[in-house]
């Protein structure tokens, strides 16, 4: 009896793993079949207004990159504070709050940014999208930096100090260097996450059918356009949405895998 229960238990557990893998496979295969069949070279050369995706891909990357440009340094420095400088309650409070912020509903962040960066200026703009994405990114970077710095042995810091280096020199030249790979991985994973975000962009930068690099106007976004295209009745729009989804997923998963590849030997 015990052994039968055990067998049943093992079977159920393996079945769960297969279900999990099954969903991943199902989604990826669907994406691949639908995506590849609607993929043409012309998609990369034309803008959405001519039935292509060029402006959207460029727009999404520009938004994510500029958000990363704000989010990474701020997040890293804040992470350095709570691990290296902060002591006691305040650092712990910030750590806990940023932990919570990681799981905060992204649509609410969009609404928040809307009320101070869109509404007063009369319309969607690229800056608002960048702000929303960087707000999403900062807490993730803080958490990564914090936990990666915690892995750096205390002796390294002491050795640096003993050489007479000031604390910030030790942090920048010794501690960060030691944690470099881990932080890079965290940064890439965070970047992959915000690059695929839709909800914070819906009413901040919206999207645009035209090629546009002017951040004061509504800014082309791959994800928001997927949402719009998928809800349109024409088959051509939906095919375009599938192609865009495929490109987005490949982009996000490649960045994600690149991040994991960096730390492949460390775990």
């Amino acid at each position: 009896m015990r052994l039968q229960i055990n067998k049943l238990f093992l079977a159920l557990s393996i079945l769960s793993a297969l279900i999990g893998l099954g969903f991943l496979g199902w989604i990826l295969v669907t994406l691949f079949i639908k995506g590849v069949s609607s993929l043409h070279l012309t998609l990369f050369l034309n803008d959405l207004v001519d039935g292509g995706l060029r402006n959207l891909i460029v727009g999404q990357l520009v938004l994510a990159l500029l958000a990363a440009l704000i989010g990474i340094p701020l997040g890293m420095i804040a992470g350095i504070y709570i691990r290296e400088y902060g002591h006691g309650k305040y650092a712990n409070l910030i750590r806990d709050l940023s932990d919570i912020m990681v799981s905060a509903p992204s649509i609410v962040i969009g609404a928040f940014v809307y009320s101070f960066a869109v509404a007063p200026f009369g319309g969607a703009n690229g800056f608002a999208g960048i702000i929303a994405l960087s707000i999403m990114m900062i807490p993730i970077i803080i958490n990564t930096t914090d936990s990666m710095l915690s892995l750096v042995p205390k002796e390294l810091r002491e050795a640096g100090m003993a050489l007479g280096a000031s604390k910030y020199r030790v942090i920048l030249d010794v501690v960060i260097k030691a944690a470099k790979v881990g932080i890079m991985t965290g940064v890439l994973l965070a970047f992959a996450r915000i690059a695929g975000e839709t909800a914070p962009l819906l009413f901040t930068s919206e999207t645009s059918n035209y090629f546009n690099l002017d951040l004061t106007e509504s800014f082309p976004s791959l994800t928001v356009s997927i949402y719009n295209l998928a809800n349109e009745p024409e088959k051509s729009s939906r095919d375009l949405a599938w192609a865009a989804s495929f490109i987005l997923t490949v982009m996000v998963l490649l960045i994600n895998l690149a991040g994991r590849y960096l730390t492949r030997n460390k775990k």
Binding site: S13, G20, Y168, L202, I226
Partner: protein, 318 residues
């Protein structure tokens, strides 16, 4: 220089606090007209964007509110007619009950669906699979977590929902399909965190149990689960907190209709979806009501996540 660096790092850290307080205050300020107009009754009122005559007492309104949603268009027409004839004053009422219920129910369905599978995957990864298989499957599950939510929505709408609708009947866009796709979405996160909790069980404990002749099931049931219980419960609640605020996967599937579902296969709406769908066209009181919903959502997920973090996932054991 040292001082400067310290100051900069302190202010960046403070930015988190400022952002959080900023979100709360901004949402509250933007929601204020709606808060003042509807008060806390907003939470229990199921009418959304309905015009009612100003003079009418609230009792009669509640009486016909059951049919109000189905008869939505007729009602409006009637009221419009009245407007023309008597020039009666009307006001528009917004209530958050439907999106709130929709959010809770879809999250519940997601949780019920994802929890057993996530537990199974976690046990598989932590205890059953060999190291290499565990690494490979673990990675695959984490990749599933990395797929953007809008992709889950597309896939759910065109492939998963038809299957569910064929099996269970009802509409393709419904509470059920939205909840299940949400479940698929939180599955990898839940599995990964649960696995990490299970992995904190000391090997000595497990080995002692095996040495006494315990089967794998008994080890998991009597050793690993009691040991990592708080961590597991914490990660489930954390996943719940994330599911509450998920927008895009649900937006494709829930139907975005302001009506309470009679059956699980009926379409309805959730708070994030209400915001995503209606924000663009909303203005004035409508926009303010959406901010009110956003505030409720933010408070809900903040409470759930901090409960999970502080009660179950105390630092050091998670």
């Amino acid at each position: 220089m040292e001082k400067l660096f310290q100051k900069i790092s302190l202010s960046s850290a403070t930015l988190v606090l400022v952002l959080l307080l900023g979100i709360f205050t901004t949402l509250f300020i933007s929601a204020k007209p709606a808060v003042e107009a509807f008060g806390l009754q907003f939470i229990t009122d199921q009418r959304w964007n309905q015009e009612i005559p100003l003079i009418e007492s609230s009792d009669t309104v509640i009486e016909d509110s059951d049919d109000a949603i189905i008869a939505d268009e007729d009602d409006e027409d009637m009221i419009l007619d009245e407007d023309d004839e008597e020039d009666a004053a009307t006001k528009t009422v917004f209530g958050g009950l439907v999106p709130i219920i929709g959010t809770l129910l879809s999250t519940l369905i997601a949780l019920l669906f994802a929890m057993p599978i996530a537990m199974g995957i976690a046990v598989f990864l932590a205890e059953i699979a060999s190291k290499n298989i565990s690494k490979f499957v673990g990675m695959a599950i984490e990749l599933l977590a990395a797929i953007p939510s809008i992709i889950f929505g597309m896939w759910g709408l065109y492939y998963f929902a038809p299957l569910i609708a064929d099996t269970f009947g009802g509409y393709q866009v419904s509470l059920l399909t939205a909840g299940l796709v949400l479940g698929v979405m939180i599955l990898p996160f839940m599995a990964a965190v649960t696995r990490d909790s299970m992995n904190t069980t000391p090997d000595v404990l497990k080995e002692s149990a095996y040495a006494l002749g315990a089967t794998k099931f008994e080890v998991v049931k009597d050793i690993i689960f009691p040991y990592s219980k708080t961590g597991i419960i914490g990660s489930i609640i954390l996943a719940l907190g994330r599911a509450l605020g998920e927008t895009m996967a649900v937006a494709f599937l829930i139907g975005a209709v302001y009506s309470l579902p009679d059956k699980i296969t009926d379409p309805t709406i959730s708070i994030p979806v209400a915001m995503a769908v209606n924000f663009g066209e909303a203005s004035g009181l409508g926009e303010s009501a959406l901010f009110y919903l956003g505030l409720i959502l933010f408070v809900m997920s903040f409470a759930v996540i901090s409960f999970a973090k502080f009660y179950f996932l105390k630092r050091g054991n998670a």
